[in-house]
Symmetry: C2
Subunit: 891 residues, 2 copies
């Protein structure tokens, strides 16, 4: 098949979108549908790629083809480019396959020169208009094609207005524009060494090249990185006959949506300007009118536009974002595309379109971007609010909050009890700060990453949190937070947006989440189509209940260490760790047992009838002990203090010795997970006993319980074999003590590469696999997340060494390959093996698609991401049966 390099609009359409780009294809589509579209043609993405391949050269062949298309356009419009008597003027616009609004360049009014401007003046009998057009053209061409700083032209305009004592462009006369044009030409000559090009054919070629080049300007590249659009697509260029909204009061230009993009309400929504070109609307110099007022000013045009809007919506079966121009009382359509919308609008429009019979529910499911759902589920900052953003940190837990700054957990608690809203600000948090986190609206830390203590705890509680905000210098002594010379003191108002990482001065207006009927409807439809089950990561009854409300079908990961970190447990846990004898240790464990049992009972009750996967203790024991540097500092100080109590000194020294004994060079790869369970079986035994006692109790109270005991960090089947024995022994013990049979299963996390690589063996001892893709990503890449995110990962993504942050989006080539090996080989040993994912990827759209394709049984994510996961799982299933791609890039 020969590639098409140039396509006239009337031969185009959506089926050629990959060549014509979105804008060109839509113009073709509208032209074919008989809508009033100014004629033109598209130079395709194939031509753009050829241009780059040839080393940024437009080949002679291509130039000829463009010339031929231009000739046809001239015949169709009965005008000629450069004809002084009736000049054809054209716009030259970019149009990529995936929309990148405002990112690339546009040139309007092309074809004007010192002669044709006079023709335009004669034809329109409007000299002011003609010279206004010409100066606009020079200005745009100068900026876009010749690379002259925009400000140089702006300065001339500004000076001219000052000279004339006027404040707006519209007050300037034709003669004013003529003198501006002369000065503009002078700037061009000065900046480029050449006269402003007068040959319209040269103007056209150079404009086309400039648009091709704009594919690789910096903002376009950044936009593509953020939106994960390939750099290899190239852009098309649309050359279209100009129509003018600035030919007098019977002319105008505007942009309108067929439905409200904020609320989804079915009504034209947009704005227009009389006697203006499109850029005036964007530039914001004049305030546009709401589209509804057009119905009074030009009722026939409004009615025509309304009908066209309906036709377009019906044609595209989606809400449209339409650009239009009115030239001397005639309506022209310049562009239409599916409109961007808020999460609320997306949900409403999708469900409304189903009700209206325009789309079916499968299609509706593809119309909502799961990632947007966070907007609906959390309090957020009113988008209309003006913000005084101080700095940014890592968006560690979504939602927004305002409150008074406190630097201490105790004060947070006290102030909160006094009815004050507080934001807890700390360099980092430890288990000792938990009551402060509970008491505060949100947390801000200057250190730590997305898996730091503060982040994990805040996400668990559904509170906003920003971590690793390195620009924020926190001085705990003087109780001050300093950012770039600004100081925030204890009691000052501060706001945080945990979804974006923004730290904002003062209080900001917040919008409460509302779960509309439409929202529930979309999720109910999602449930019909998805194959993946959705569970939640929850460590307490409250989170479990919340997640169940959001549709969770069980707990996929209950992290028992968070229970150990609760303030009333920490002293017991420390006693257990620091015990000198087996008896002392057992005594501490005996005290922990009833507390753990209560924890589990609450979760079982909240999840009655559903499976609950409980992971036994995972982190290294030193995480429960005080910070080594702090103790060292205390010890040195005590040693230097004359008259210090020698008993106290000895005690602290002893503590330091113990903490040092437990110190690890790389705790992530150290003595944790089942390695703890194997060396200190008494800890796991206590946990398993507590689980079974709680289960027995809840069953006897009439609930249905299905505990799934998960052994963490298994790398060799023997580890699981030993731990399974321990669980089975404990089950037998508890069953015989309580007389209550308890149904349970035993499985493991697959979170080190060796576990995936030897899944066939490990499956012999496992009833289920849960892929712990957080740790699996760390070990597969050899990244410590806490270090990588602060030190190099940001640069890696910025410079495209990595396509994504692998801790956010599952790396399919490496980590994903291990997951697939694990699923396949595990099932070969045990066909009934249940498989799921409980890393953070379980709540991320692209990763969920991967999980669906890898054949997992379920994903598990934090409670507030459960709706997202339900929808993403449905989209994954639909993609696989060939439904239209959901909006947003998913693969």
């Amino acid at each position: 098949m020969s590639k098409k390099y140039v396509i006239p609009f009337h031969e185009g359409g959506l089926e050629q979108k990959h060549l014509m780009g979105g804008k060109g294809a839509n113009l073709g589509e509208m032209t074919k549908a008989g809508l009033p579209v100014p004629p033109g043609f598209t130079i395709t993405t194939a031509a753009c790629l050829e241009y780059y391949d040839a080393g940024r050269i437009l080949t002679d062949e291509r130039k000829e083809e463009i010339g031929a298309a231009l000739f046809s356009l001239e015949k169709q419009t009965e005008k000629k480019l450069g004809d002084p008597s009736d000049p054809l003027l054209v716009s030259v616009r970019s149009g990529a396959v995936i929309s990148m609004p405002g990112m690339m360049d546009t040139v309007l009014n092309l074809g004007l020169n010192d002669e044709t401007v006079q023709g335009l003046e004669r034809l329109t009998e409007n000299p002011r208009f003609a010279y206004d057009c010409y100066r606009r053209f020079i200005q745009m061409f100068g900026d876009v094609v010749l690379g002259i700083p925009h400000c140089r032209f702006e300065r001339v305009l500004q000076r001219k207005k000052e000279e004339q004592g006027v404040s707006t462009d519209t007050e300037l006369t034709a003669d004013d524009w003529k003198s501006v044009i002369e000065r503009f030409k002078g700037i061009v000559k000065e900046e480029t060494g050449n006269e402003f090009p007068q040959d319209p054919a040269e103007q056209l070629n150079r404009a086309i090249i400039a648009v091709f080049d704009s594919w690789n300007n910096q903002r376009a590249r950044i936009y593509r990185r953020i939106h994960k659009i390939s750099d290899d697509l190239g852009t098309a260029v649309n050359v279209q006959m100009m129509v003018f909204g600035n030919m007098g009061d019977d002319s105008g230009t505007g942009v309108a949506f067929t439905r409200n993009p904020s609320t989804g309400e079915k009504a034209l929504y947009g704005e227009y300007l009389i006697n203006a070109q499109g850029e005036d609307v964007v530039a914001g110099i004049r305030t546009p009118q709401p589209i509804s007022s057009l119905s009074e000013r030009m009722p026939a045009i409004y009615e025509e536009f309304r009908k066209i809007g309906n036709r377009l919506e019906a044609h595209y079966r989606d809400m449209q974002d339409i650009e239009f121009t009115i030239e001397r009382g005639k309506l022209y359509m310049l562009q239409t595309r599916n409109g961007k919308r808020t999460a609320h609008a997306a949900v409403k429009i999708a469900t409304d379109l189903v009700k209206e019979g325009v789309i079916d529910k499968r299609t509706a499911l593809t119309r909502v971007d799961p990632e947007q759902l966070d907007q609906i589920l959390h309090r957020r900052i009113d988008p209309k609010a003006e913000l005084d953003v101080l700095t940014k940190g890592l968006p560690a837990s979504p939602g927004a909050a305002s409150g008074k700054v406190v630097f201490d957990a105790d004060i947070a608690e006290r102030w909160s009890q006094d009815g004050k809203k507080v934001i807890l600000v700390r360099p980092e948090t430890t288990p000792e700060d938990i009551h402060g986190i509970v008491a505060s609206e949100g947390v801000l830390t200057s250190r730590g990453g997305m898996t730091s203590h503060a982040a994990v705890v805040a996400r668990g509680m559904g509170k906003p949190c920003i971590c690793g905000c390195e620009e924020a210098k926190i001085d705990l002594k003087s109780k001050e937070l300093r950012v770039k010379g600004m100081v925030v003191r204890e009691g000052d108002e501060l706001s945080i947006d945990g979804g974006t990482g923004r730290v904002i001065r003062g209080q900001v207006p917040l919008i409460d989440p509302e779960l509309s009927d439409e929202f529930q409807q979309i999720l109910a439809w999602a449930d019909e189509f998805r194959r993946l089950k959705v569970r939640t990561n929850a460590d307490n009854p409250e989170d479990s209940a919340k997640a169940r409300e959001f549709g969770a079908e069980g707990v996929g990961l209950c992290r028992t260490e968070h229970m150990f970190m609760e303030a009333d447990r920490v002293p017991l846990v420390r006693d257990m760790i620091l015990a000198e004898t087996a008896e002392e240790r057992q005594a501490a464990l005996d005290k922990l047992l009833p507390l753990q049992q209560k924890d589990f009972k609450g979760i079982f009750e909240a999840m009655s009838g559903l499976p609950v996967t409980i992971r036994l203790l995972d982190p290294p024991l030193h995480e429960f002990l005080p910070n080594q540097e702090e103790i060292l500092t205390e010890v040195v100080k005590l040693q230097m203090t004359e008259g210090a109590d020698p008993v106290e000194v000895k005690k602290k020294e002893e503590l330091l010795r113990k903490v040092r004994g437990l110190h690890e060079f790389n705790p992530m790869l150290g003595h944790r997970g089942c390695r703890l369970g194997l060396i200190h079986p008494e800890i796991y035994a206590m946990q398993v006993e507590a689980i079974f006692l709680a289960a027995a109790e809840v069953i006897q109270e009439g609930a249905t319980v299905r505990p799934e005991i998960m052994i963490p960090l298994v790398g060799h089947v023997n580890e699981l074999r030993e731990m399974r024995k321990l669980v089975e022994e404990m089950a037998t013990q508890v069953e015989s003590r309580t007389g209550q049979p308890i149904p349970y299963t035993v499985g493991t996390m697959i979170e080190v590469p060796r576990a995936a690589l030897t899944a066939a063996e490990i499956a012999e001892e496992a009833d289920f696999f849960s892929f712990g893709t957080n740790d699996l990503t760390q070990t597969t890449f050899g990244y410590s997340r806490d270090d990588a995110e602060g030190k190099f990962l940001h640069e890696y993504i910025h410079h495209k060494i990595l396509p994504d942050n692998p801790f956010m989006t599952l790396d399919t080539d490496g980590v994903g390959r291990l997951v697939s090996i694990g699923v396949k080989e595990g099932r070969r040993t045990k066909p009934a093996l249940k498989t799921g994912i409980c890393g953070e990827h379980g709540g991320e759209k692209q990763s969920i698609l991967f999980c669906h394709r890898a054949g997992l049984d379920y994903v598990s994510c934090s409670p507030f991401r459960v709706p997202l996961a339900r929808l993403a799982a449905a989209q994954a299933a639909l993609i696989d049966i060939g439904e239209p791609e959901p909006i947003g890039k998913t693969s």
Copy 2:
């Protein structure tokens, strides 16, 4: 095929070794050859496994078969078990497939009871002999079968000798033995509640069961763990007619080797005792005579034995270890097996046997265990020396040394300059101790693992080193080393054996290494057969030269960080790291450049004509900075000191801030390897420039140089792509500056799982892969070696959670699978891709077999392991073409 459970010797032989065990098979082999072997039969390993499967029960079927075999034996010997007139007496001995000398149990003289002992007395007309036999039987049976503590019998014997006023057993009379027997029977009754069993059939069954049980006694299990023998093999039991070496002065018993097992010299070597049973030789109560003296005492017997020895050697085509007994002037062969030997002897015997035409050189290669070669290459402790072993640590660098203890690198240097030999003892070493390590004979540290600074540096220098010797409490203030209450002070003599980890009090006699012609011969033969190339890990010219002397075919890993750690570099490296501006940093790099250039030049010269793989800087930068805790301590002290110089305080605080800024939670997974090169390209640029400048210089001086630039820690092809660009730019620069074309290649370490999993992509940018299996093992298992070896790995191996230490022996199922994926998929992209291994596994026998099978091109190991690798590579090649398995377990 029906399993054989009982096999008479005359129907047995080596082809049934898997059933009969080594001893039984050899007895069968000798019987078939017509040698004088007392008749008997073997109860096979199949019977043993059945016994365990049945829950430690000998089935009736098996009992019947044993009865039938016994009946045949009675017919053959014309004696009957339990016949008072002419009793058959038998020995019951264990015999596993893989020899486990002394690990399992034996019962002799079985068949004696109160009646048959009288028959024996009559037949031999030697009452003392008969009752001596009986008391020995009761004693052994009591110990082995009835589980009565050996000491109880010993005490009776002791008391009897005291009563009689004699000092040796031989002085006791028949009556003495009779009374001893009565007391023994009393002990049996007391301990078991039953009389000593008089029924010979019961004695036999119980003895067989006891031998089966001894397969799982503690010392056998430990032996198998150490020697990597499967627990599932089981043991055979040999029932054999007793012959007696204790029937008078015309009787005797002994053990002899056909060649000297220490030196390999061809001459009978062994010892015997007149009028004794085998156990007397082992027990060491009487001093045995050298075998040579038998030629005077019993010339005919000696001659017969010599001939049989020659026949056996010719038959087995290897040096034999033979047990024999002379009963009333008649020679019996009780056992023969291939004899254990020292490395020196193994080499000499193998080459001698080739010279003698007994074996070919392929077979000779299988006769030397590569792991033994360390004995030959390093100084070692005279095996005859008596040692006062204080404690043990990790065997971090082989070889032995004695010297005066010093606790400080400066003192080490001073004393060494004064001509004293010193052993440097430190809690751990840092780059600042290098001059102390250089000055000392060996290093002992109480902290750190096999990859600690001390270990790596000492191995590089070929000096003995023991690390992580946790029992040793080092007090630097009082200059004392305390172990279990004993104190070693500065200046005291201490010895270390870095091959075993033994710390020994005082000076010990050392033996220098000698590389014999035979040693060179074996290695030359190895070179004929191996396919794998052998390179070395060397960071300086001395090591490179040493390795080349040992046969290295290039450098497989030159670690540039060791150059950075040299004492004169550390200040420059710190300047570079702590630089505030780009200029300061560049200035420090400019000073490092000529030093690095000199390093590389020396290595290129030493390796002229051979490839040299240089790895760019790998460790995180904080490794070059002072210890964070130490600075913190200093800062706190300064802060607490009144009148401290504020400039000094500020400086230290600033240093602490910087060190903290570089701190990482998991440095192993942090900002290191090419992640450094990507974020700080100026460091790699300096290194690459130094490499190319050195290469240009050496080439212009007439040498042949082939630098291979290795980029560490690549996990994504983009990392390598960027770094490759940097190398290529620098090559162009240096080539144009020096006018010297330089041949070079660029490749990467495969040391994180993702690199192996995406090898197909990474190979696009790589000329070679070097598998860094140290780090790959850490990431695949999720183990930090520094932490694991101290915290849980030892327990894991002890409890058989893991079969081996994966840092010593490559884990084929996990890490090996990744290596295979990497090789296969890398070569699919680039068939000419060169592949090697540079982790420590490159110098380990089993891992080298894996590398051979995985199709790698080379292994690289430390200089002193090069000979081992050459031999192991040859053995690997021979195994794959079906040569006899090398001695020692290799797969």
